[in-house]
Amino acid sequence: MSNEDAVSLFGKSVVALKNFSAEEIHLVLNTARKMKQIIRRGGDKKLPNLRGKAIVNLFYEPSTRTRTSFELAGKYLGADVVSINSGTSSIVKGESLRDTLRTIEAMGVDAIVMRHKAEGAADFATQVVKPIIINAGDGAHAHPSQALLDLFTIEQRKGRLVGLKVVIVGDILHSRVARSDVYAMTKMGMNVHLAGPKTLLPRFFEFDGVTLHESVDEAIQGADVINVLRIQLERQQAGLFPSTREYARVFGINDDRLRLAADDVLILHPGPQNKGLEISSEVTYGERSAIQEQVQNGVAVRMALLDLTLNGGTNS
């Protein structure tokens, strides 16, 4: 990465990886590698990089791992981090997104990490206020830090990204993870396949380097990586598939089905999982699974994002 020095994310909001170059993604992954060492070194994890910076986590949707992960990432870097949940704030009093953002801005915040049900909410925020906006998920649109941690996990385990066959399985239609993965993974030279029942695949989805499959068995032939997406139970009530039993049988990822993939296939899942539905327990806890590692990598990647955008990555 000889040209990495020229790349900077300083002052940049992270709304969608569509707007990221391969060099910028490399920069995040390389920085995350250093951050991961710090998390793992034990003892004092605290860095001074973001001392004096204030970060607000503004979460309009429930989240355990993403919110905690961003919160710890900020704290490990020495920033002051405050988390706001929609249920316990002025949002329940009917305050508009614009006004909530402006209120937070007025308190002197440097970055806002935002999770919202509405597609485009993070982009809207960048137009409304000056602090750096980190999109922690906007509807079914984008979840850039998740895609970056997916890439980071794959790179750590496989030693490379280029040329790998990755299959994303499940509810592609409603998935911000899938949409961010598609942009990130194709930029990094991976062959991306999307698979699931046609009811959960977006109609008219056209993307260079991406293939859609209605058969999971067909899609995972020789796969190097399988990213299993969460199936929300309300999709069944909406008539998108008939039963969890049938879904598990036809589309679920289990050891038997994995015989079709490469021997050393890597299994990812953004969580939270529905064990026995989209993924079996043996797969989750098996040695090909990197699901637990993804969580730790999530903190490292988010430290990298915060450090690079707020601090330019110096001292890291």
Partner: protein, 441 residues
């Protein structure tokens, strides 16, 4: 360049005369297109011919401009009663005058819905009291627009309703809709149909297509419109009733209407400037101004709508002027209400994107906003015949201007056309002989 409209109510019972000199008069209803003077006396057209010698109270030099029958927009939302933060009869009819419209018809999806004679009568009275232009009232087809029981449409006709519509909703219940067609059969009133099959568009905020697939926004597929248009064409054919397809937007739906017309079905259709000229590619989820129902489609759909407009499948152009309060539109795409104000930008869009690009001739364009809507809704107007009401629009086809929301007369603030530069604008609007004009310094 400062551009300000002089908009004022007509002083009634004052005898006035007006001579419009030297414009290119386009009057499709009378098959007239040529340079002529137009003489107006006491709110009626007195003469249309070259070089009129007559001493009048007022004169307007229309040299280099187009003089057309007053434009008619049979699909606007003036939001009264109940939603006056979005628009009211005064602000909405000022916007109409500034956009060159002399007659508009307002939809009944208000709060409460205009679904009975008392409300129609009240709205007719409001229109007379504050309306700057002619404001016609459209009544609801079903009580509360719920699609369950027929509203008292014959009482509403007696009170002055010009048409019926549950616009905003598709009437899912085919039997109720068939009943409505039968019930109105021996009247001259048409039902204006919002055509999107409900279950297929539930939760949808933009066209279902390549862009929604990438953005993750829920789609409203064209097939929802096609199914609805097909059903209503078939029910019109079966019942012998009259159906008017509101804001058509899908290429396939245009085909279905064309085919139905060929069979002699009593169906007419309208299209908006936005569905003729804008596509799903312009949807930005961080800005709700492009959120409309039916949604912006693809270029192929725009092209099909234009073809349909020119070949007569589509009879009228309407704005579907749908203003909302700024705070309602200034929010997340999925939560913002659908619609944007269109009265003040309509001529600019149509002249810039269609006429100046050679895609449509002036006679067809003007006809779709005058003679044809007047014919569908049986209005006294849409032409410059002698003794017709002196509703006249004067358009400067070459005037270059920039859309500025601060200068809108509508209360609606969010339009995807804000900041756009247009060529072509109404410069004078005459309602019953009352001249309102755009001054330029």
């Amino acid at each position: 360049m400062n551009q300000t409209w002089q908009i004022r109510r007509m002083e009634s019972n004052i005898s006035t005369s007006l001579l419009i000199r030297g414009g290119r008069v386009i009057d499709p209803a009378n098959d007239f297109d040529g340079v002529a003077d137009v003489l107006v006396i006491d709110g009626r057209i007195a003469a249309v011919k070259p070089d009129i010698k007559f001493s009048t109270d007022y004169e307007y030099d229309a040299t280099g401009k187009l003089v057309t029958p007053g434009l008619i927009d049979m699909h606007v939302h003036l939001r009264e009663p109940g939603q006056e933060a979005k628009e009211d009869f005064l602000s909405g009819s000022k916007a109409a005058a500034a956009g060159g419209f002399t007659t508009i018809a307002t939809m009944p999806n208000t709060s409460p819905a205009v679904d009975n004679a008392a409300l129609v009568r009240a709205m007719v009275k409001r229109a007379e009291e504050v309306g700057i232009v002619n404001v016609k009232i459209i009544g609801a087809v079903t009580k509360g627009r719920h699609g369950q029981e027929l509203a008292e449409m014959r009482d509403m006709i007696a009170a002055g309703a010009v048409a019926f519509s549950d616009d905003g909703n598709f009437d899912d219940n085919a039997k109720i809709f068939l009943n409505a067609l039968d019930y109105l059969h021996n009247t001259d009133k048409v039902i204006i149909c919002h055509e999107e099959e409900t279950t297929l568009v539930e939760g949808g905020v933009m066209n279902e297509g390549k862009r929604s697939a990438l953005l993750g926004l829920k789609g409203r597929p064209t097939v929802a419109e096609d199914i609805a248009v097909a059903r209503d064409c078939l029910l019109a054919e079966y019942s012998g009733g009259r159906v008017h397809i509101a804001h058509i937007s899908s290429a396939r739906a245009v085909d279905i209407v064309r085919e139905a017309k060929r069979r002699g079905v009593k169906v007419t259709a309208e299209v908006t400037p936005q569905h003729l000229t804008m596509t799903e590619d312009e949807v930005n989820p961080a800005d709700a101004s492009t959120k409309i129902n039916p949604p912006l489609r693809t270029q192929a759909d725009c092209d099909a709508c234009l073809t349909g407009l020119i070949d007569g499948t589509i009879d009228a152009i309407v704005t579907d002027h749908s203003p909302h309060a700024p705070e309602e539109k200034d929010r997340e795409y999925i939560y913002a209400p659908s619609g944007f104000p269109g009265l003040e930008t309509c001529i600019g869009v149509l002249f810039t994107e269609l006429y100046h690009k050679g895609k449509i001739d002036l006679r067809t364009l003007i006809s779709k906003m005058t003679a044809e809507p007047a014919n569908i809704f049986k209005l006294d107007g849409g032409n410059l015949s002698i003794d017709a009401p002196a509703d006249i629009t004067i358009i400067d086809p070459e005037l270059v201007w920039t859309v500025d929301a601060k200068k809108f007369y509508t209360k609606g603030s969010h339009s995807p056309f804000i900041g756009r530069q247009f060529k072509g604008r109404a410069v004078a609007t005459i309602v019953h002989g009352n001249l309102m004009k755009l001054n330029q310094w």
